[in-house]
Symmetry: C2
Subunit: 418 residues, 2 copies
């Protein structure tokens, strides 16, 4: 993409109505547009980041047999009444709306009920299970406060997976496979080392724990206690001696940390399947309960978490696999030969499948470099009179102050996504 | 994908609550699930069709300089009051909801206002124009009746593009480029020959016509008059002698047809940009109006249109570029060698990038063939004792009764997407 064609541009002004660093930087760099508190539109660069994260999540969900669906935002009241999750006194963050004839509808905040309802058409016998389905789509939650930018939205993008299994044992195996896939997702996003599987409350109907995936961050809303040797944590909310004994952690080995939840996995036993009257028939012809789990990853929240986690005083810093473009190519100087060389390199990189944001604008080098830093593109490549003379290119990593002179082959190897 | 792993399956029962052929067949084949009238979830096969159509649209929008964004579903009232499109007496198909504090919000039905508002941050001078942005996402319209399956939904997927230009001349050039892109989209979807650019009403504030893209179909809600030589049409709603003269059509050359609208392009002049107070400064430093256009393609409606258009008595018939899978691979017979050969072919095709639905179930050949036909997969490939003996594969096109025996190379050439 040529900067001269991109409709967004950066701004030097920090938006006055944003307190969160992630929203401030994403707005200044032209990645997102604030529609209202907790509701953000994705502009081209932000949309690319969002899609990159979504695609990593999608690949890992597909790899463990996840089948992608797209459920609806509009939700019929009757379905949610069957599980007692319609009443605003029970679920307090519904957005609700009405059909022209007055029929009340919900605006999708999660999808356990419609997923079980849709799957029930296809589940009779033990041969039809286990099943794992997922979707990546907008969810709507009527939060009282929304001040954390993309970390807590009223409208946000989520991956939600649901598993249905024949027994608690089978569920536990499926559940652990999904946990492993979650670890792979966070590693690929550059958050692996700082993201802990964290024991948390399982909800009122089960004595099991759920698992949260918590990324260490000073802006996190959660307090967790980390066992750095075992690479596991426990949420402060359930930190009791009894629970520590259950999960095999010792208070002395725990370190208190602030963290932000980037995913969760919930054992639901047969709460929803029973309530919606969905069972399967086993090998002996007997009716059996279906054991369910649900598994979330906050895709748009991760955009915000990555900004908070890696940003420095110059701006955002995107991990290679997430960045909207891998290379920020800047021509420095307006000599015809400089522009020609920059065009040739732009084409060569693009033809090799490398995503390049080419700053072809007639502005000072300092302005180009500041934009490259603010946008957080992993590599800045400069074509100037000097680089042409040396028959190499000047390359600087966003996280390194040193510039290197590289030929085209070495450059391509360096910038490729992992 | 192995059929034994796919969670959906086909049904022999026509759903009693569906009148539209598209919804009946898509539900029977397990492509979609009805949530309520006009609101459908996409199951794995339906999601693949939807994504295939969306990707063709995306490629063609990108090719003409479209920049992809993702606007929000939740909409602030104040923005729409500025264009007088908030009041239910003016726009009668809003879904509306409320924040916890009582503030009214809209549920996105179109995005002219938020697009102009977001772009206004980036438009000052003539250098910032023209711009073309688009998105592909769910829209919500509170329709009184919804009986046509995917042809008229309350929740549906749409591509909406918006252009902002410096002058009416520039707008007209951009507009015609987009019209050409639309023709390419419909050709790639297999609808090119039967889809007509159709003059239609431009709305109350302009004397210009809008253009509809109408696909001939007996289930269409529109009546159009086609000039088959000029390959252009006019909507019955504006069929007057005065209008015919304006567009250079002659009543005698027109044939009346039923058609369904699969896209539209609207000249908006400066209606929305003026109302939202967005202008640009020209080379002389003078403030100028911005000329806008909006351009829709009904992505989920196209799923329904393609079903209606091509289905036969055996089921759906997907064009190659749209089909959820290119090949339905069926093993016939349970001999070990048959299953081994089928596995080898499945792997070879998949490795070559061909999308295969492999029916590895232990069911009768007739049942497999009926499912292949109902699902409308373009090619059915059979591995049986007979095909192994001949060292070839039995291939049948969905639209042809003849089976052919082909070796692997010829098979691959035949089934590849165009």
């Amino acid at each position: 993409m040529r900067m001269s064609q991109l409709f967004t541009r950066t701004s030097k002004t920090i938006p006055a109505d944003e307190q969160a660093k992630n929203a401030q930087l994403l707005i200044q760099a032209g990645f997102i547009h604030k529609e209202m508190a907790g509701v953000y539109a994705y502009l081209p660069l932000g949309k690319r980041v969002l899609d990159n994260i979504a695609n990593i999540v999608r690949e890992e969900m597909n790899a463990i047999g996840g089948q992608e669906v797209q459920m609806t935002t509009l939700q019929p009241k009757e379905l949610w009444e069957r599980t007692n999750r319609w009443d605003d006194k029970v679920v307090d963050n519904w957005f609700k709306t009405k059909l022209a004839n007055g029929t009340e509808l919900g605006v999708g905040l999660t999808h356990e009920e419609p997923i079980v309802d849709a799957l029930s058409d296809f589940i009779d016998s033990y041969k039809d299970l286990p099943v794992r389905v997922y979707q990546i789509q907008s969810k709507f939650r009527n939060e009282l406060r929304a001040k954390s930018g993309l970390l807590r939205g009223r409208e946000f993008i989520m991956k939600d997976m649901y598993s249905l299994s024949r027994s608690q044992d089978e569920h536990d195996r499926v559940y652990e496979e999904i946990v492993e896939a979650y670890h792979r997702v966070y590693r690929r996003l550059g958050l692996g080392d700082d993201t802990y599987r964290t024991y948390a409350d399982g909800g009122y109907f089960t004595e099991r724990f759920s698992d949260e995936f918590q990324t260490l961050s000073d802006v996190g809303e959660d307090t967790i206690y980390v066992d750095e040797t075992k690479k596991i944590a426990i949420n402060e909310e359930i930190l009791t001696d009894e629970n520590l004994a259950k999960v095999g952690l010792t208070r002395d080995n725990l370190v208190q940390k602030r963290a932000v939840e980037v995913g969760n996995t919930f054992p639901l036993e047969s709460k929803y399947t029973d309530a919606l009257d969905v069972y399967y028939t086993d090998e002996k012809g007997e009716k059996q309960h279906i054991i369910m789990g649900c598994y979330g990853i906050g895709v748009s929240r991760l955009v915000g978490v990555i900004v908070e986690k890696f940003a420095d005083e110059k701006g955002m810093v995107w991990p290679k696999n997430v960045a909207p473009y891998q290379v920020y190519l800047a021509s420095v100087g307006r000599d015809e030969s400089i522009l020609e060389h920059a065009e040739v390199l732009y084409k060569a990189l693009t033809d090799a499948g490398i995503e390049v944001l080419y700053d072809d604008r007639d502005v000072r080098a300092g302005e180009k470099f500041a934009d490259a830093d603010l946008m957080g593109i992993p590599y800045r490549v400069v074509v100037s009179g000097k680089t042409i003379a040396s028959e190499q290119y000047e390359v600087k990593s966003r996280t390194d102050d040193q510039v290197q002179l590289l030929d085209q082959d070495s450059l391509m190897k360096m910038v490729a996504r992992t």
